[in-house]
């Protein structure tokens, strides 16, 4: 199978060399992303494959890896960010207070540091630890978000602040945690805070000024959702006028959620950006009858104007907190004997969706882990077939709902190898019981809520690192892990795949069969995203941020607040033994083969 995004590297490397001399020419980020010496955006490339053509470190020698250098980002919260590498510099941003650093990618020498003044009260707003998922580079600038709703543009060489744009308000429950994407001179940013009555949006900023170019809301009238004449949804339930209002009780869309806190992909051929929206909120589901569009929806939009082109509502009237903000991998797959440009979307709801990139038609939706809340996915209607026995009803104990609220897979991104033709999936393996028991109290209002008691799925393990064949539509191999696998992953032409565990192991496995090749016991549990690059010394490196946290890991880096339903009765309960394995951390780890470690020290 030939994949369009793999191009000769040398040409691009030369082009980048020229660009480092002058900023007069605009960078071609798409071309830069194909240069495997670098890793210029968290997803590696616009297709979000997180695949590198480097093979110096490979299945034969990965066992000899060791730590070349390390660096502390200084605050012990969940470190979910992907480091990025542009030229000979590595850029990394920590969890709150979101300090950003530039380091020599070979020696680890600190080039500059930028400390934003982040409003400390934003910590109390974020639902699931104070994470940040990374930075992005374009045209000599570094862009990232701070928890208190600012997007920052820095000079990549000096760390000097070029602009700061305020996009939301913590006093209204909004935060920013996602990594932006740079597309054609625009920085795309989405908000977090679905449970706080936030109205979800994706915003495009001018990368030179930080000014808002367009904003597409996830709920509300068509004009706010940027639905117009270009919009041609494939399925009936997405066809009609102002469905972002009409699928809600009157006015309820105004605080309807659908935040955009996950990943955005870009298809240069069709000029479409593709991303998913979060769950509806903040009402109990029986107070929001209707499909609640456009929450839990995959959107394809024109990258220049933000106009919607198609939209698939994956979990209409979501009952389980199944956000669909997960990554969308753009590859070509044989569909009925014909190669088609598709999106592979490993759904939070447990279905592996294969979707036509141009039309939104869903070709297949296979369960990729234990799933009881939905019987199947109807490809004709584009809707899940719900299992009514698993419907959470207050006053009724419902047991064995799988997956639990964090889904089969949450934000932690997968990787696709055009060498093995496999998709690598870090994910959780959790079910839940829904019980009415908890007396709670927030800001002076008592209530009786439901407890989600989350526990290991069948087999007794809570996480898995799996390889999935998207052509045969089946799991090829899987490694069971004690805890949910909450890191991203990456895969290389050297047939190695990398991930980390909450109980502090960084692991390299053989991408062909899952055989463990190397593991390192790190200071803290992992929730980060591994990357790889080639330094100016000619050697290949692998980097990942270490520091436990995020939704499952917050129990280990701080005492969990029992008022948070999903923490106290839910995820915290599922990983209650985690503090016996790890405490918080904040370390960037860079791995290399032995001779490379020496080089790093000599420099």
């Amino acid at each position: 199978m030939k994949l369009s995004f793999i191009k000769p590297r040398a040409v691009i490397a030369a082009a980048i060399g020229a660009l480092w001399l002058t900023h007069a020419l605009a960078d071609d980020l798409d071309a830069m992303s194909r240069d495997d010496k670098q890793w210029v955006m968290p997803a590696k490339n616009y297709a979000s494959t997180r695949f590198s053509g480097l093979d110096q470190i490979n299945a034969a020698n990965a066992g000899h890896l060791g730590v070349a250098w390390s660096f502390s980002v200084g605050s012990n919260h969940g470190q979910e960010a992907a480091p990025i590498v542009v030229g000979d510099t590595m850029y990394v941003v920590g969890a709150y207070p979101n300090e950003a650093f530039a380091l020599d990618a070979v020696t680890g020498e600190l080039k500059w540091k930028y400390s934003p003044r982040v409003d400390p009260s934003s910590q109390g707003i974020a639902c699931c630890d104070v994470v940040n998922r990374g930075e992005v580079y374009d045209n000599g600038k570094i862009f990232f978000n701070t928890l208190d709703n600012h997007t920052v543009g820095l000079d990549a060489k000096t760390g000097k602040e070029i602009w700061v744009a305020k996009l939301g308000d913590i006093s209204r429950g909004q935060t920013l945690t996602m990594a932006p994407l740079a597309v054609k001179g625009k920085i795309l940013v989405g908000n977090s805070g679905g449970e706080m009555g936030v109205r979800g949006w994706l915003t495009a900023l001018d990368e030179n000024s930080g000014k808002i170019v367009w904003r597409a809301y996830s709920v509300g009238p068509d004009k706010d959702v940027l639905i117009g004449p270009k919009f041609h949804p494939y399925y009936k339930d997405a066809q009609g006028k102002d469905l972002g209002m009409k699928t809600w009780p009157p006015g309820r869309w105004q605080i309807g959620g659908g935040p955009v806190w996950g990943w955005i992909s870009y298809d240069p051929k069709t000029n479409l950006i593709i991303y998913g929206t979060g769950n509806p909120g903040p009402w109990n589901s029986n107070e929001r009858p209707g499909d609640n569009l456009w929450t839990t929806t995959i959107f394809a939009r024109d990258a220049d104007t933000g106009e919607a082109v198609w939209g698939d509502v994956l979990n209409p009237h979501d009952l389980y907190d199944y956000d669909e903000i997960n990554e969308n991998i753009l590859i070509d797959l044989p569909i009925n004997g014909q190669m088609k440009p598709v999106i592979v979307h490993p759904g939070r709801d447990g279905f592996m969706f294969v979707i036509d990139r141009k039309t939104g038609q869903i070709y297949s939706a296979d369960k990729y882990d234990n799933q009881t809340s939905m019987k199947s996915f109807d490809l004709k209607t584009g809707r899940p077939v719900m299992n009514d026995a698993m419907k959470p009803i207050l006053g009724k104990n419902v047991t064995g709902i799988c997956p639990a609220s964090p889904g089969v897979k949450d934000w932690q991104p997968t990787a696709y190898s055009p060498v093995t033709h496999l998709l690598y999936i870090p994910h959780q393996h959790l079910c839940m019981n829904f019980q009415t028991s908890e007396v709670g109290y927030i800001a002076g209002t008592p209530y009786v809520g439901a407890t989600e008691d989350i526990y290991a799925g069948p087999g007794g393990y809570r996480g898995e690192f799996a390889a999935w064949d998207p052509i045969k539509r089946q799991k090829v191999w899987a490694i069971h892990e004690k805890f949910p696998v909450w890191t991203g992953t990456m895969v290389t032409a050297g047939n190695i795949a990398a991930y980390g565990t909450l109980d502090r192991w960084f692991k390299i496995v053989d991408a062909r069969n899952g055989k463990l090749l190397y593991r390192f016991h790190a200071p803290s549990g992992f929730v980060g995203q591994p990357i790889t690059y080639q330094g100016k010394d000619g050697n290949q490196y692998i980097a990942i941020l270490d520091g436990v946290g995020g939704w499952p890991g917050a129990i280990a880096n701080a005492e969990i607040d029992p008022r948070v339903r999903n923490a106290a009765g839910g995820f915290a309960g599922a990983v209650g033994d985690l503090p016996a394995y790890t405490s918080g951390g904040s370390t960037l780890l860079v791995f290399a083969l032995p001779h490379q470690q020496e080089n790093a020290h000599a420099n």
Binding site: S171, E287, P446, V564
Partner: protein, 268 residues
Amino acid sequence: MRIEALVPLLLLALLPAAAGAGELRVCSDPNNLPFSNRAGQGFENKIAALVARDLGDTLKYTFAAQHETFLKRTLHAHRCDVTMGVPVGMEGVEETRPYYASSYVFVSRKSDGLRLTSLTDPRLRTLKIGVHLIGGDDAPPELALGKQGIVDNVRGFLIQGDYSRPNPPARLIEAVENKSIDIAAVWGPLGGYFAKHSPVALSVMPMTDTAGFKPLVFRFAIAMGVRKGDNALREHLDSVIAKERLAIRNILDAYGVPLVKIREASNG
């Protein structure tokens, strides 16, 4: 011997704050009347002052918004030792004995003469109703209305609302005042206090006919909360609560808090 000299100090630092130790460290919301604010104008502030006086302690506040991570950032982070209002039965904290109980209430304009108390009153199908939205979990009236299919005429007001404005939960009562809704279904202390200070005459009626909505509860007993295992402090607080029953009641009355009998609150 420098190290030896340090030992007693360290031991002191590890001991839980107790009566007579000098400080009563309380975590409070700086912007949430009638409960508390930074200026000390809430009834929880007054009761905390009463407790501190009785224990011979000076009162020291750590202020933090009562969002979902409030306890994590305050009590459990050892930034204070007491939080003044927790419903009996809440997990994760050690409770004192309850010092008051209140009920969810309906707040409407007196001039409308609704006198509505029943959660099953048919007029609720047509009146414009306001409820507080919490996010993640739900206040009982919202769920009870939803169970009856009363949806389209219900408007949600975020309890955390716009925190840059004073007392965010007050927006719900203001909506009754300015007639954008007809009736608010709200937790008693909020409804009672804001109705008392309203420029418009408002009626505050405790909810009735709630039994059919079990397991939902509409009357809650409220206690003070300390960290689990902090029994010494809990016992001191319990003795103050027993001794000052009348003074506490007077404070709550002054704030218009609709009180119900503690033993009739169903959350215990």
